[in-house]
Every structure is written in structure tokens, then in C-alpha cells.
Subunit: 356 residues, 4 copies
């Protein structure tokens, strides 16, 4: 398997299966001399961890991160930061019933066909548990970026969505409810919807919107590594993501050029921002914003037909402790991946300086 | 500038500005012994080239590709394939009026702020002319892939869209009209719409759908380099793209798990394909399909306010020979980028073989 | 810091400081389905560990490796292999005397100037302790390669050298003495020399020769990533290495073409092997052999002038538990790095197959 | 084939066969705003080109470089620099006698076995003609580096060597003779030796020494990408190179620590420089110097046994226009590769700045 690294200069490599001994990672390329707030890192992990509210999986994992290297007397040293999160609450026996069964719309079948062997317990490497490592790295990236602000929030659950532009929202309210929606009235409807879905043993999809503010002009590498292309890849690499759009997105495809163009102010800002803060793959200093679509979690607590490795269709009763909607716990993951992309491009931008 | 390379094992690096001497590229990693049909490569370029129909820019560029290396007696040799497309029809004087002016929703401002210098003629490196090199490499990738079929087509222009699933379309009809829409009735409406928009000196957005068939099970690297994440990045790297979704896409975010799951047949295929042919980042052998959103071209042949480098708002009359809608010429580019992703992942998959 | 990863497809990333909590790494790209002998991996670590004999440092570190991921029921799964070696015997107080002092011919000064901060305890990241992680990865690579045999041995210590071609040596005797020299008479002289040097509180350099046998034809990527260039980089990345030569090496620079050419046998083997098993950067099936020069360890147990961070020359008494000669413990490191290069190129070679 | 790129941030990718239409490359990552002296680039190529003196091959190739992109009004723009050198003097018929024959100690056999097809004319991709592209990129790197001085020179031919430390040489005399040896008396002996060897239809090896001066402290990435490891790989990637040593090199392996350590001056410089300007993989501000061993050219103008593709030993008469000694033409190649390594590490160093 390749593909366990992300970033060119601020680079995260992760390892670990859902029910193995531990998950973790290495951050290579973090500059030296950054004062790290380790509690803030753990706090980000807590936003992602299971069991945090009634609308997420009731598994209990402390998800405590331990750092092995790269930090000395509270500061980064420039050497690789190795970290680990020990798995403590695996109920691996919960998964013996799927040992030889491929669950529909899971990665069981494709992993088995690709590798010929898989750690079936809890989805193994395909589990979203891997994203805890991303949250650790993203939290460090956020501290490195400091003045750049990255806020993600739940913008829709099923058919329920926030009916306001993000500019009218108060990001300080994102953490004030368990669905992480800064619009209180919408948040309540979303929570009710998820509770209803959960009772049915079903799951539901949703979207997350992310806004990146105070970005300097000039981030992003044109051509193949455009800033939005890197953000798109980052988001699409998160489990259950089916789509990505930035700025005007799919709506922009219905518009005319005379409507869509963002006219300049004399200071280089623009009167509108359908571009989403990026022109030609390079940040223009306006807010970067994008939207990410998550499918409903595939594990439903209902009877479903599945395929076994002998090529038979077998009835399977979904069980285990699963999320009825992945979106609230995915909010910190979206922020983390955005932070990794921005941090990497901040370092890449240094290369291009004309001041030799 | 970094970011001028795409792919890990089947790797394309491109160079060239819109009004420089030439554009071109190097393909590194193409296996040896592949018989190349050079006319078929040129044919792909012809699908992208300007002046091919009344609904695209009327610039005349022959866009003839010349190969400098890597091919011997009709076969690839395994060495890097260097190729060039000479620029022949530059009317650089057409651009002297924008020398010190940043056009709205173009890359003029961001390039200038990032690099402190830019070749302003025809957009320079930010011009979609660069994509001709991608089409060359994609055409070679297609020949390498042979049995895997990649078909892209125009699925919407403005509000006009094909109201059928792709399974009901005849891909052999894609090239039968200038908009590259396999549904004739819709194609006519799209063409009329573009002609109307062009008369207004305006432009319009659209979407392209791409379907990849006969893909073996097991393509794609889980975690950060999921197959759909690579496809998404590839598409988002194309000029004017604002969004990407695969399988159920943004619609999937509104669905319930019990509706969204793709149940298996005993041969491992699935009864439905909301997953879009990919599970956990790995192809499952079903059709891969995705949709790409293109914004309207920013150059409108109307008066618009622009910013100059002195910090003044100046009125600018858009001129030059521009596309009223980028979508028909982008169809071969979408196919090319898809071919590059699939070719790269075919090579990566070899690494994972258990047959040592 | 970049540069903590090695390999393109079989990729090792390491982390960890000499006196931090742990060192470790991630191996990404190891194919699935390889049965791993975990004891054999530990055995390789034991060949490198301190305290193993009277002629190496008397520090006692168990250097026990623990695997966190990527192995299931005894086989590799194709997912990244995360591993850790906890540091257990740090006597960090031994190093307080160098907190603000740059020891001559150490990395203290350069790390401090580059990063502005350093973990000074035991050399931190610059310590050869990092190479334990390489030995773990190399041991896995060796098991993957199976039929390819990699043997390194001490070929000289100071002025004492083996006066025979490697073909006259019995590699099974490498482990029969503490200096790891398969020629018993020479080994004894080397050991006496090191004991004498150690009594003086001094250190001494040496060379290691490595022979790789049963290599298939066709390993190595021409041009920049020639097989011997990758081997050379791998060896030069080991602490204390000052030179690398393969085949005829520096002697070859004194020869004439008519003497140096390796004439063919009809089966494609060659009558001589001054080429060292590589032509044009690609293996030709003959033995690959090379020689690596190690400088004397910089820490001498004598008084020496050093520089402190205030810009003063201070007298420093070398102390701590150090190796009088790095070579015997470097033998498994040389083998490990060679194994990583060969494993990576075995995977790369698959990409080039003509059998599409 | 992989391996046609060099560098991480200042990256060169090359293409081209000896007797194809052209060779060339792309430089990606050169910062914008660098004023380029195109004549100085051509001048570097002229130092490498065939036919320049009586002791090198008498082929006549103008080796004129043409730039296609990345330069605008005399300055780099930050976009990729595409360049080409057209092949003009191929006498491909000179090579029909080796179409099915593997010459001893050439890459004919290994390329054929690896790729199953090869452009046999003039060695194809394995020809040192490829290094002309390196010289172009290296010349641009040199201009970017400006204050850092890189001087290579011929330090030995066969048994004849300069018997002085490099500090006693006047680098301004390197170009004053055709062998590129700054010590006039030694140069004359070397030239006589080569003329004698040439008359015999034979060839001879030699070494090149390279000195890099005015290097700032802090270049190089510790662990796998140590500065000397990158230099070593760069040199070993040049055709015909068999060995690399820096600082004390192989001699250092015979020394004692008390002799080898470089004691500090109060300004951080060192009294001696056996370290070769690098500690722990990072430059310390002292001169970096290293030595590169070149084998004798394999093509001798004598009768030799060769192998044909039918598995028969055939007698072959070497012909064509070949170098009796590769070293004088390799001097600018060594400098170019050194410049690429230093330029890349200058850009990498920016990433590590503590000044966020």
C-alpha cells in the first residue's frame, strides 16, 4: 500500500488499524521553534472521539495522544514528531461475524481482493479511526498557522440545511451544540432528525462547510497542485466523502460570466467572492470556503444481504456501536485536513520568494 | 513554482506559456513495448484545439505534437517521452492592453502577487493552453490502458442538462455534435444556448460527466491517495473547475444508509452503484463515474471594471478570441486526466502483488 | 526538517531522538502476504545493539521492537507497518555538560545553527541510535527479498585490512567474531587494535564491504536513480560515513579500458566483474559489491577544546559510554540499507514490465 | 523507467536519446525574478561539448540550447523552464554494427534485458549525451546561487595526480588547459598520457575534485538526505562514476579520532577541515570538498569479444568517435550536479526558518 502520506513539506504519514495495538503517525517538516499547546491538541481529538454525545457512536475510547519525539522543553525542534494513540476499547469479538463476509458499501470486498488478506476487525485500516492521527497533525498545523483561522461546521443533515450565507453565522457557536451547527434553530432540527434516524437503526448523510480566513495572497501552486485541487484531494480522502465544491461550486456551472466575475476593490479585495478565495489555483486573500458531501454511514442496524468469501449471499444483522451520522465527528477532521493543506502551502510559498 | 508534475509512477511534467515559443512535457514511467498510434494522439489534440467549431474560440492553432524521445520504431522504449507543441498563432499584441491590468476572476492578480513578474500575454502559464500537454499524455495513457474505456461528455450547459442516467446514453454519439453531448435533443438545446450567450458577449458554465468502464478490482491506494481523491484532484486541477462529485455525490448527502447501500450479486458486482465503482478508495470493478463543474469563462466581451497595478479601477473592454463555454473543449481534457489517474494506479497496483 | 524518509515504493520514515521516549518508524509499501519471522527481526537489532561485546559501547539497551500495525496473524497485510523501540537506558544527566557546548566534529554546532534549538541529550536526532529503526525495516526487506543474499563485513580497521578478494571468504563466519570479519586471522588483529585504541581513550575508523548475491538482471532506474547511486546515497546517509565505491571503485580510475572491461560469457554473465554487478545503473545479474568508509568516532575520552554557545573555547573531558570503533555495529546497518534499496528497486522494476 | 528527475524543490527532469531528434529537460521550482545570462549557460555547455580539443571525442555537435518557457524579458518567472538541445550530428549508421550486439561494460545488455527494446544508436538513453541537459540546469542553478562558488577540476588521470592540497591551487587556471587541471605541470603530464593512450586505441580513468565555497551554515537535511549523501548520489548518477568520498574520505577510515577531529575557532570555523564542510549532514560554513572516481571509457578502438542477442560471442572492432578519457568533459557536469544539490538545499532550508 502506498498513499499513507500527505503533504510535500509539512508531511504526515499515518499507520494503524482500528483494532490493532495502536494508531499513530509521524509529522515530518514542521519548522523548529513553535511553542506547542499539548492540551489544545488533545482538545481537538476530543472533538472527534466517540462517545462524546448521544448522536454519535457510544463506543468509549479515551483517544489520548502521546508524543515520542520532535518536541523539547515545549517547543518543536524541527525533527520529526512521532506520536501514538493506543487502542484501548477494542471489542474485536464484535466483528467475528464479518470475518468472511463482505458488508455492502464497505471496503471489506475491495481490501480483500486487493491485498488477499485483511484485518477484518472493525474495518481494520479502512476504519475512520485512522483520522484521529490526522486530527493530531492538523492541530499542530493550526498552531503553526496561528493567525489563519479555519472553521468547519455542519451545513446540512439529510434535507435539513442552513439557509444563510456563512457570513451571517457566528462561528463561536459551532461548539455550542452536539451537531456542530452554528445556527441554533437548524441545529435542533438536525439533532432531532438524527435521533429519529437512529431509532430506525438507519443512518443519514450530510455536508460540512469550511471557511479559511486571514489567508495571505499567494498560497497554492498553479497547474496540477492548485490550492483548491489540494483541498479537494484532502477532503475526498476522508472516509465517506462523495463530493467537494469551492466558491460557487456546482451552482457556478449554471451561471453566466457577467454574473460570476468578482470585481475588484482598489485594495485588491473583491466585491463578491464567487471565486472562493482562489484564482488560478492561488489564494487571493479573500476567504476560502468549500463544501464537502458525506454519504450515510454504511453500517445500518438492520438486516441486510451481504456476500461471503465463498460467493454466497448471506443475511447479516448489523450490530456494533456505530454513528447514525458521521458529520458531527467529521467537523474536526475537515478542519485538520484543511490545516494540513494550508501549512504545506505556506512552506511551499517560501521557496518562491524573490528575495534571494 | 512547484506543481507542474502529475502522477507517481506514470508521471507527466509540463511546461510552457500561452504565448511563449512552445508548450510541451515529459512523460516518465510509461512502460516499454507499447505500440503507439501517433495519429490517435493527434486526434485527441484535435478534439481540444481551438477553432474546431462555431461554438468555441475562433483562434486557429494547428496544435501539432512532435515527439523528441522515448519512442523507437513505433514502440515505447521505457525511457522518458519528451514532446513539444509549438505555438504558432500568438497574437501577443492582443494582450498589451492587460499588461498592467488585473482582469476580474482571472489569475493575473494572484500570479503577479506571488511571483512579482508574469508573462501577461494570453494568460501565460495560467492559460488553459497548458492542458494540450495533458491531452497528449492522456492519449498515451489511453493506449496503454487499451481495454479500460474512458468516456466523458457534456452533461449540462447552464440550466440545460441531460435528464437520463448515463446507462441510457450511447457513447458512440459523443463526437456526433460540437457540444459533445450524446443525447441529441439536449445537445441541440445546449448549442442554441451557447450561440445565444455568445451573441451577448457573455459566457456560460456547464458540467461534464465521465464514465470509466472495465476497470479491474483493486485500483487505488487507501487512506490519503484514494482513487476518487486522485480523480478529484486531477479534475480540480483543470482550469475553471469548481466542483467534483462521484457516485451519488452531493445527492448522497441527503440519503439514508438503507437506501444508499449497494447490495452484492454473488459474483461480487453490485445491484446498484451509488458508490460509483469505488469502495474505501479502491475500485470494485463496477463503472466509475463522476461529474465535474466548470464555471463560466471569465473573459466576457463586454465592458468591465478591472484593477491596474497602480491600484486604480479602470474600465476594460474584453476582446480577443475566447470560448463562450469551456465545456466542449474540456471533454478530452477530463478524459485525459482520468486516463492519467487510472494509468498511474494500474502501475501502483503492481507493487502490491502478493506473488513475489 | 525533511529527509526522514527513504525509498519510493518500499518507504521507511523514522522518528526519534536518542534520549526521547522512543524511536520508531513506519514502513509504507511492503506488499501483503509476506510471512514475517519476528524473532529474526529482533535478531538483526541485537547485532546492532550496544553492549554486545567488549569492543563496543557498554551502554545496555535491550532495543526491543514492538509492532503496532500492518501485521495480522503473522502476515503483512499491505497496510503500513508502524513500530516502536522504547528508550529505556537514557542517562541524560551524562550530557548536561554539553548543553551549551559544541563538541568538535559532532553535529551539535550545525543542528543548533540550523534549528535554533536542539535536544542535546546524547546527540538527539543526530545520534546513530536512529539507525535501529533502519535495521528493523531492513530486516523486513530481507525477508521480502528471501532469495537475494546480502552480506556485509568489516574489511578494514585503521591500517589493518583483509588481504583477499571477497570470493575467498566464508560469509558464514562473519558472526563468529565480535568485529564481524570473516577472515579469522585478520579479525584477531582488528580486535587487538580496537582494544589498544580503547585503552588510549581514542577511536579508530574502518571500512565495511557489502556483497549482494542472486540479484536478478534489471534492477535500477537509469539516469538519476541508478542502482549504485541509490546504494551510495543509502550508505552515505549512515552516521560517520565518508566514502563509497562499488566494483573497481577508486582503483578503477587508475585503469585502462582494455583492462577494465568485463568480457561476456555466452549466458550473459561476465568473466570478470570490475563493474560490480551494475551496468548503466542497472543490475546485470553478477554480484553487486561495494565498500563504505567510516571515520573514527568523534567522541574521544580525552581532553579536547570545544566551543560554547557564548563563543568561548572551553576544555571538555569526553565521557559517557562510546564506541571505540563504529564498524562492528555498523555491519547490520549497511546490510539493512542495502536491503531497503534492493527491495525498493524490486518493486520499481514491476512497473516496467512489458506484460500489460 | 523512473528516475529521470533530480531534486525536490529545484527539480530537473530530462529526456532524450543520443541519436533521437533532441534531448532536453524541464526545471521546475526555480524562483522568479532571477536575471539569467543566457550566454553563460551556453558557455557551460561549450565546456562539455564534444570536439573542443584534441584529447576528447572529435564528434562535432554545436549543442545549442533553446529555451521554450519560464523566462520573460530576461528574468525567470517562477514557471517551469523548458529547454531543448537538438541533435544535429548523429551518424546513426556508425552503430548498425551493434544493433544486436552487447558491448562489454556498456549498458546494452542491461537495457535490453530490462526493457526488451532499446534505441541502440549511440547508446540511446544510456549515453552521456543526457548530461548536457544537466549542464543547462546546473548553469541556471549557479546563477541563482551567485555568491556560492563551485569549482571542479581534474585531480588525476590514471596514476598521475596533483600532489598538493586544493588550497594551494589557483582555480582561475582550471580553464587554461584542455584537461582542466589547475596545476600546469601536472596538466601537461596528464595530456601527454591521454595522447599516448589514445594512440593505443585505449582509454583511461581519472578523478575529479570539486570544492564548494561560501556555503552558508545550515544546508542539508539530516538523516536520509544528508548534504553529502545527496552530493554522493548526484555524482554517482553521472556516467562512468565508480566512487565518491568527501572530506577525509577513505583516508579517514585509517585515522584515529584524536587526529581526525576538527577543533573550533571562536567564530565557529574550524582549524582543520577533515569533515569536508559538513557535520551530521549539515553544512558548517567551511569549504565543502569531495572527490569523484571515473572508470576508463568502455569503448576501446581495439578488437574485443562481445555477446550478441543470439547468445554468441562475436569479435567486435570498436569504432566511432569516442573520448579516450572522460574526465575533462566531466568537469562541468560535476559542477552542474553540485550546483543542483546546493540550489535544492538552499530552497529546502527556507522551509525550516523559525521566523514564522
Amino acid at each position: 500500500m502506498a498513499g499513507n502520506s500527505f503533504g510535500k513539506l509539512f508531511k504526515l504519514t499515518t499507520y494503524g488499524e482500528s483494532h490493532g495495538k495502536a494508531i499513530g503517525g509521524i509529522i515530518d517538516g514542521c519548522p523548529s521553534g513553535i511553542k506547542l499547546d499539548l492540551e489544545a491538541i488533545q482538545e481537538e481529538l476530543n472533538r472527534r472521539k466517540p462517545g462524546q454525545s448521544k448522536i454519535v457512536t457510544q463506543r468509549k475510547e479515551p483517544d489520548t495522544v502521546e508524543f515520542y519525539s520532535g518536541i523539547f522543553e515545549g517547543f518543536t525542534t524541527g525533527t520529526p514528531i512521532g506520536f501514538v494513540i493506543h487502542n484501548t476499547n477494542q471489542k474485536s469479538k464484535d466483528y467475528t461475524h464479518i470475518k468472511d463476509v463482505y458488508r455492502p458499501s464497505h471496503a471489506d470486498y475491495t481490501y480483500d481482493k486487493k491485498y488477499g488478506v485483511r484485518d477484518y476487525r472493525g474495518g481494520g485500516r479502512s476504519s475512520a479511526r485512522e483520522t484521529a492521527s490526522r486530527v493530531v497533525a492538523g492541530a499542530i498545523a493550526k498552531q503553526m498557522l496561528s493567525t489563519i483561522k479555519i472553521n468547519a461546521f455542519t451545513s446540512s443533515v439529510g434535507e435539513i440545511f442552513i439557509d444563510k450565507p456563512y457570513q451571517d453565522l457566528d462561528f463561536s457557536k459551532i461548539e455550542s451544540n452536539v451537531i456542530r451547527c452554528p445556527d441554533e434553530a437548524t441545529a435542533e432540527k438536525m439533532i432531532s432528525k438524527i435521533e429519529e434516524i437512529k431509532k430506525q437503526g438507519d443512518t443519514i448523510g450530510g455536508t460540512i462547510t469550511c471557511v479559511i480566513q486571514n489567508v495571505p495572497v499567494g498560497l497554492g501552486e498553479p497547474v496540477f497542485d492548485k490550492l483548491h485541487a489540494e483541498l479537494g484531494k484532502a477532503m475526498l480522502s476522508i472516509n465517506a466523502v462523495k463530493g467537494f465544491e469551492y466558491g460557487s461550486g456546482f451552482c457556478g456551472a449554471k451561471m453566466k460570466g457577467s454574473e460570476h466575475n468578482d470585481l475588484f476593490n482598489i485594495n485588491g479585495t473583491t466585491k463578491t467572492n464567487l471565486s472562493g478565495g482562489i484564482q488560478g489555483g492561488i489564494s487571493n486573500g479573500m476567504d476560502i470556503y468549500f463544501r464537502v458531501a458525506f454519504k450515510p454511514v454504511a453500517t445500518v442496524i438492520q438486516k441486510q444481504d451481504a456476500l461471503n468469501s465463498a460467493g454466497e449471499i448471506v443475511e447479516m444483522q448489523g450490530k456494533g456501536r456505530h454513528d447514525p451520522c458521521v458529520v458531527p465527528r467529521a467537523v474536526p477532521i475537515v478542519e485538520a485536513m484543511a490545516a494540513l493543506v494550508i501549512a504545506d502551502n505556506m512552506l511551499l510559498r517560501r521557496q518562491e520568494s524573490r528575495e534571494w
